[in-house]
């Protein structure tokens, strides 16, 4: 972890580190420091960990240390999410991605609880493998195919915000371009034309791969996704998935802090605590800028 001016404050501590994965359902949250530098309301986050998940620590770091929110791991065998306000399904290779990415993970015990959590309108964010899991579980429409190039691709991409229907996008503006890395082999998004039309009309297509200036071009589409789609939401907007990694772009030192706009989006929702402000409010670049 990097040294920050406020590095003395750790909000992301899960007692016992990885022990948080075991029977510690309902593990106590450390209280956010009231003198914290971020004027954010508090949102209790859970980060789901399957066998093979590999982005849980950086996700917890961004939510806990960078955004100053209480956060704990949720082992995939847990079934009680009642202490949480929002859940992230992070990246990795859940259950080895055997059969299809997310195909086995969707039957993990936590998924039934997560479906109920989502059905209750609570926010769920799937990143990369987490997006694949949510799609397999039917919490998001469509399906994932192998990248058209048949290669695992790891590179920076630009995402154009298409819709701000989701509370995760409360801090974003349509047309805004967010820069963050992607790293996946099975991220070619597919949905049939009827599903796509319905999604489009409801504003469920939230991100498209774009050029730096916001133009959506074939060259900017890294994996062959239909309509250059990089992220979608469910009809209600509370479940959102995207292939690129906002948690890997949440500090300027990492090359971009645009991902913070997404992870802090919930905290900018007026209902969640007033001021629609989030750290690094200059995140992102206007299309054409």
């Amino acid at each position: 972890m990097m040294t920050r001016p406020n590095a003395g404050r750790q909000h992301d501590g899960v007692p016992g580190g990885r022990a948080g994965r075991t029977a510690a359902a309902g593990a106590e949250f450390p209280s956010p420091d009231p003198a914290g530098f971020l004027p954010l309301s508090s949102c209790r986050w859970g980060v789901v960990v399957f066998p093979g998940t590999n982005c849980e620590y950086e996700t917890r770091y961004v939510l806990g240390t960078v955004l100053g929110q209480p956060v704990r791991f949720v082992w995939h065998r847990e079934t009680d999410l009642s202490d949480l306000d929002a859940v992230v399904v992070p990246g990795g290779f859940a259950h080895g991605d055997y059969l299809r990415a997310g195909a086995i993970a969707r039957f993990s015990p936590v998924m039934e609880a997560l479906s109920a959590f989502a059905a209750a309108g609570k926010p769920v964010l799937g990143i990369c493998n987490g997006f694949q899991v949510l799609v397999e579980a039917g919490l998001l429409p469509g399906a994932m195919l192998r990248n058209q190039s048949q290669r695992f691709l790891c590179r920076w991409v630009n995402l154009r915000v298409e819709s701000t229907c989701s509370p995760f996008l409360a801090a974003c503006r349509p047309g805004q371009v967010l820069r963050m890395p992607m790293a996946h082999g099975e991220g070619c998004y597919y949905a049939d034309p009827e599903t796509l039309a319905a999604m489009e009309s409801r504003g469920q297509i939230v991100f498209r791969y774009a050029e730096r200036d916001g133009r959506v071009t074939p060259d900017a589409n890294p994996n062959g996704s239909v309509g250059s789609i990089a992220g979608v939401s469910n009809a209600a907007g509370n479940v959102l998935g995207l292939m690129p990694h906002p948690e890997r772009a949440s500090e300027a030192l990492l090359g971009s802090d645009d991902g913070r706009a997404l992870l802090a989006g919930l905290l900018a929702v007026p209902d969640a605590g007033g001021t629609p402000a989030f750290p690094g409010s200059g995140a992102g670049n206007e299309a054409g800028a």
């Binding site: 059969l99 299809r100 195909a103 086995i104 039957f107 397999e136 469509g142 399906a143 195919l145 192998r146 058209q148 190039s149 048949q150 070619c188 597919y190 949905a191 049939d192 062959g224």
Partner: protein, 78 residues
């Protein structure tokens, strides 16, 4: 032993990029008789005697294939 061989392929409406690459490779080797290649996967199930075709069908729909993008065929053998 009752066996079921499940063959899973992409639906015809879904672009089979892997199949296209293999077809192009065959063409470059001079096998111009190949018009199309359809990739997929094959899963063999060793089953308890008396397992019904309906049960195997349910396995395919629920887990082995993703009906959004894939179609499947099941062949039984003793």
């Amino acid at each position: 032993m009752l066996k079921a061989r499940v063959t899973i392929q992409l639906k015809p409406t879904v672009l089979d990029a892997q199949g296209a690459v293999v077809r192009n490779a065959l063409h470059s080797l001079g096998f111009h008789s190949v018009e199309n290649v359809h990739m997929g996967k094959c899963i063999e199930l060793d089953l308890a005697e008396g397992t019904s075709a309906d049960e195997v069908d349910a396995m395919c729909r629920k887990l082995l294939a993703n009906p959004v993008i894939e179609q499947f065929q099941v062949q039984f053998s003793e």
